[in-house]
Subunit: 397 residues, 3 copies
C-alpha cells in the first residue's frame, strides 16, 4: 500500500525534466518554479522512503565536503544527515587546520578537495557582498577542473547560507508550509508577515529574511515585510520579491509597524537582523580588522535596536492575527524573552505554543539538502527512485 | 564449526527478554542483572562475528552523535569503532563550533541533532551533580520530540562517563573479569579492591571508582573500597554498592589502608580520585568562574594528596595479594611512577607486568558500546544476530 | 571492452608477489622497484574502476585513523578520499582533544586507537630526527599489541610526510611522470631538476626534495639537485639518491646555480626548503620552547634566503630547458610571484602554463594512498581486484 503511494508520487515526477542536473544551488531566484517543486517532492519521497525503512542510499562511496565559515549546529547536522542518508561521507574543510586560511588560492583548493567529492556545502554569511561571490569562485574553479580533466566529475555546490540567501532554510520553511496547509496551492491568498524583531544581539545575517521574501512571494501569498525605519534589506532582493509577487498573483508590502503588519496574518516569521547599511559598514571594518570601529558600530547599533524593544512578537500581537492563531515560524534559535534573553524576538508564551512546530519546520532541512544533492547528481531522478524501491534495501536490518 | 558455536551462543540469548529495547543506558544500577548479562553476551558475539569476518553491520545509514564535554581518546575511539561496526557515522557535536555553547537550549538542540540520529553518546563528567542530570535533560527532550512526531525514532543515549557512573568502562572491566576468570560465577567469593591511589594531579572524576563498586558488588565478590580518610565517594552510590553486596552474597568493606586492603586480594584496581566534598567545592567554583578559588583549592588538594604518597601500588603491596599475583586493573591512562610522573598510582614494575592485560581490558569497550547500541535498537537481538549470520556478509572482501 | 582492459591489467599483476602485505609504508627507499611498481599499477586500476563506476569498496566497516601533527589540506583530503573509496571511515586523532598531548604514552595510545582500525596515516614533519622515529615507535607498539593478542589485526602505517620522506607525494609525482611520458621506461635518460627556489617564508620541510631525489633516481634519469650553497639536504638521503642513480644507469649531480641546472632539462621541480643545519637548530629551539631563539633564527634565515631572490623559476629559465617546455612540477601550494607573494618560487607566467598539470599531479595522491592501504591488507591483490570486477557493484546507483 505504502509502496504504491510512493510509486504514484514518483510517477508524477516523470513529467518533470530535471534541469537541476549538474547545476549548483546558490539562490532560489535562479531556479524555476518547476525546479523548486521537484526538490520539495523528492525531499518528501526521501523522507517517506526512510520512514518505510527503505534505504535511499545511492552512493557506495564519495565525499560530501563542508566548508563552514561561520558557526553552525542545525545546518551542520542537516548536511551531515543528508550526505549520510545518500551514502556520502562528510569531510569538513576546516580552514584553521588547513593551509588556505587566507589568500587567493580558492581556485586551487577547490580542486584539491574535489578529486573524489560529489558535493560541497558552503556557509559563508559574515561579509556582505562576499559569501555568494565566494561560492561562485569555487564553482568556476570546479568548472575549469572538470572541463580540463582534473576532476572526474563536477561536485555540486549547495549554498548552506550566504550573505544573500539561505535556500536550504527557506525551502525547508516552504515544505513546512506546504505540509501544514496541505499544498502549495493552499498558500495562495494567505497573508505572510516577515517581520524584523527586537534582539539584544547584533549583526545577525540578512539571508533569512531575504531568502523568505524572495521565495514565499512566488506562491501567490500576500507578503508583508515589516521593520523599523532604517532596517532595510538588500534592495535588489526586495525587488526580486516584488516582481515575484506581481507575477504569482500575490501582493508585496513594506510596513514599519509590527502590530499593523500582523493584522489578519496567516503566518508570522519574526526574526532580528542587522540593517543593510550597518552590515556594509561592518563588512568594511571586518576587512580592515578595525576592532575599535567594530565595537563602536556594535554600540551604536545596539542603542538603535534598543529603541525598538516593542518589536517583540507577543500574545497581544498574536491575537491580532487571523483568528488569533497565525502560524509562527522561526529558523531557530530564537531570542525568547525571559528564556534565552531578558527581552527578545518573541515572548515565551507565543514561542512555547509553536515550539514543536518550529522543530518540525527544522526537520525538513536534511531532506531538502538531500533532495538538492539528489537532483544535482541524477538526470532522471524518478528512475533512480524506482530502482531504490525495486532494490528495497532495508535501512535498518 | 565456529558458526555453530556462534549460533549456540545466540540460541541461549533467546530466553532473555530484551527489556533494554528503547531504553537509555545511564547508570548500571538502573539495570537488572539479566540486562547486564545480555550486554556482555552480545558484546562477545559481536566480537566473535568480527573475528570471523562476518560483518555485524545493521544500519545502512544513520548518525551516531557524540557530545564530549571533556577530553577523551579511549572512549572517543571506542564509540567511533562501535558506531562504525554497526554501520553508523559519528557526527561530533562540538559545542565550540556550534551555537549552543551555553544556555538552556538543551531541549531544542537535542531535537535539532536527532532527525536522522540513532544514538547519542555523552561524556559530561566535570561538574558534580550535573553530568547525569544533563543526560536526563537530553533524554526528556528526545522523549518529547519523539512522542510529538518531531523525531521519526527515539535515539538511545549512551552514558560515556558522567559525574556518577562510567558504565561503558565498568562493563568493559566486568567483561574482562569474566573472560579472565572464565565466567561471572567464577567471580563469586573473589576479593576485589577498589583503592584510591596517589597522583600528582588533581580533580580526577569519581565516576570510575563509583561505577566499579556499584557494578562489581553484584557478583558475590568481597569488595574492599580503600582510601585515605577524607577521600569519600558520593554516599548514595556507596549505599548502592553495599546493598548490591548484601543481595549478591558478597561483602562490602571500607578500609583506610591500601596495604591492609590488598591482603589476599584477587583483583586490585588502584586509581586516584578527588574527594567528594572537594569536587563539590570545585563544581561551585567552576560555576562561578572563580579562578583564584580554583587555584587555591588545587593547592590545598595537592598538599593533601601529598600526605598520601605511600598510596602507590607497588611490588611490596602486590606481594601481599593472593599468591602475590592479584589481577591489576586500570581504566588508563595510569599515573606510573617514573614513567608518566615522578611518583604516581602504580610502580613501573607492577604496571609493566600487567600492561598488556590492561590493554585487553580496554579492548572490550568498543564491543560493550556496540552491544548497548544494539540492544537499544532491536527488540529481538537474537533474531537480528541470526539474520547477520545468515547473510554472512564479509567485513573484509 | 573497458572491463577486458582492466582484467588484462590485473592479469599482469599476478606475476608479482606482494611483499608489501602487512608491511608499513615509511620510506620509499625501503621498498623494492617491484613493490613500487605494484603500487603504481594498483593505483591506476583503482582509478579506472572508479571511473567505470565499479566500486572498489573492500571494507564493510573499519577505521582509518589519521594523526596530523602539522597542518594539511591536500594530504588530509587525499587520505580521507582513499579510505572512503575502500570503505573505511576516517577517525582523526586530534592530540588537542585527547589526553596524550605530550608524554611517552605513544605505546599505549597506539593500541587504544587500533582495536578496530585497519590503517593509520601519520604526518609528523616538524622536528628533524623525530617524525620518522615517531612512526616507528607507533609501529613497534602495534607489533607488540598484535603479537600479544591485544589487536585482532595489525593496522598498516602510511607515512603522510615526515622529516625524511613524503612517499605519498613522491609516488603521486612518479605516477604523474609515468602517465605524462607514457611509461617508467620512458623516463630513462630524461633530465630532472629538483631545485631549491626562493620563498619569503621559512622552515619548509625537507621531505619533498629528499623524497623526490631518492625516488626519481631509481628510473635511470639524470637527476640534478640544485641549491645555493648552504641549503644542503640530509646527507644520508643524498647518498641514497646517488647510489640509486648509479644502480639505475642514471646520473646524479649537485649544482649551485638554478640557471645552469635547468639547461636542457625535461622536468623541473622548483621548491623552497630550509637548510638542513637550520632545521637542526630549529628542532633544538622548538624542543626547548625558545621563542626568542626561534625568532632570531627566522630572521637570520630569511635574510639568508633574501640573498637568493634570483632563484625564482621564470620564463627566462624555462626557455633554457629542453625545447623550452620542460614539465614543471610542484607539490602545491607554490609560492607564486605576484600571486601568493611578492616574489616566490615561480613566476606567475610559468605557473599558469602548468597549473592544470600540477592539479593532475595532485590528483594521483588519493589513489596512491588507496593502493598503499590495499597492498598492505591483501596478500593477493590481483584476486581481490578480480572479485571486485566480478561483483561489479556500482559506486553510484
Amino acid at each position: 500500500m505504502k509502496e504504491m503511494k510512493l510509486l504514484e508520487n514518483i510517477n508524477e515526477l516523470e513529467q518533470i525534466k530535471n534541469s537541476l542536473f549538474q547545476k549548483d544551488f546558490l539562490l532560489t531566484w535562479e531556479k524555476s518554479d518547476r525546479e523548486l517543486k521537484l526538490i520539495l517532492e523528492i525531499a518528501i519521497i526521501l523522507k517517506q522512503l526512510r520512514e518505510q525503512n527503505i534505504s535511499p542510499r545511492v552512493f557506495d562511496s564519495g565525499l560530501a565536503v563542508s566548508i563552514f565559515r561561520d558557526k553552525s549546529t542545525r545546518t551542520r547536522f542537516s548536511y551531515a544527515s543528508a550526505a549520510n542518508l545518500l551514502g556520502l561521507t562528510v569531510q569538513d574543510m576546516d580552514e584553521e587546520k588547513s593551509q588556505i586560511s587566507h589568500g587567493e588560492t580558492v581556485r586551487e583548493t577547490a580542486n584539491m578537495i574535489s578529486f573524489l567529492t560529489e558535493t560541497i556545502g558552503i556557509r559563508d554569511d559574515m561579509y556582505l557582498g562576499e559569501g555568494n561571490k565566494y561560492m561562485r569562485e569555487v564553482a568556476d574553479a570546479l568548472d575549469e577542473g572538470f572541463q580540463n580533466g582534473v576532476l572526474p566529475s563536477r561536485p555540486g555546490i549547495v549554498n548552506l547560507q550566504c550573505d544573500m540567501d539561505h535556500p536550504t532554510q527557506s525551502l525547508a520553511d516552504l515544505l513546512h508550509l506546504q505540509q501544514h496547509f496541505g499544498s502549495l496551492d493552499e498558500l495562495r491568498g494567505k497573508k505572510m508577515v516577515m517581520s524584523w524583531a527586537y534582539s539584544p544581539s547584533y549583526g545577525k545575517p540578512l539571508s533569512v529574511p531575504q531568502g523568505i521574501i524572495a521565495l514565499m512571494s512566488r506562491y501567490g501569498m500576500n507578503i508583508e515585510l515589516a521593520y523599523p525605519e532604517g532596517y532595510e534589506l538588500i534592495p535588489e532582493i526586495v525587488k526580486v520579491a516584488k516582481t515575484n509577487s506581481r507575477e504569482s498573483g500575490g501582493t508585496f508590502n513594506i510596513n514599519n509597524s509590527m502590530s499593523d503588519a500582523v493584522k489578519d496574518a496567516d503566518i508570522v516569521y519574526p526574526k532580528s537582523w542587522a540593517p543593510f547599511h550597518i552590515m556594509q559598514q561592518r563588512t568594511e571594518l571586518l576587512k580592515q580588522g578595525d576592532k575599535d570601529g567594530l565595537l563602536n558600530l556594535e554600540k551604536t547599533c545596539l542603542a538603535q535596536n534598543a529603541k525598538h524593544k516593542n518589536w517583540e512578537y507577543d500574545m497581544q500581537k498574536m491575537n491580532l492575527t487571523k483568528d488569533g492563531i497565525a502560524l509562527y515560524m522561526h529558523c531557530l534559535p530564537a531570542d525568547i524573552s525571559g528564556v534565552s534573553c531578558k527581552l527578545g524576538e518573541v515572548s515565551a508564551g507565543v514561542f512555547e505554543k509553536y515550539r514543536l512546530l518550529t522543530y518540525n519546520e527544522a526537520g525538513y532541512k536534511p531532506y531538502i539538502i538531500a533532495a538538492i544533492m539528489f537532483t544535482n547528481k541524477f538526470e532522471k531522478p524518478d528512475q533512480v527512485l524506482k530502482k531504490i524501491i525495486e532494490k528495497n534495501h532495508s535501512r535498518i536490518l
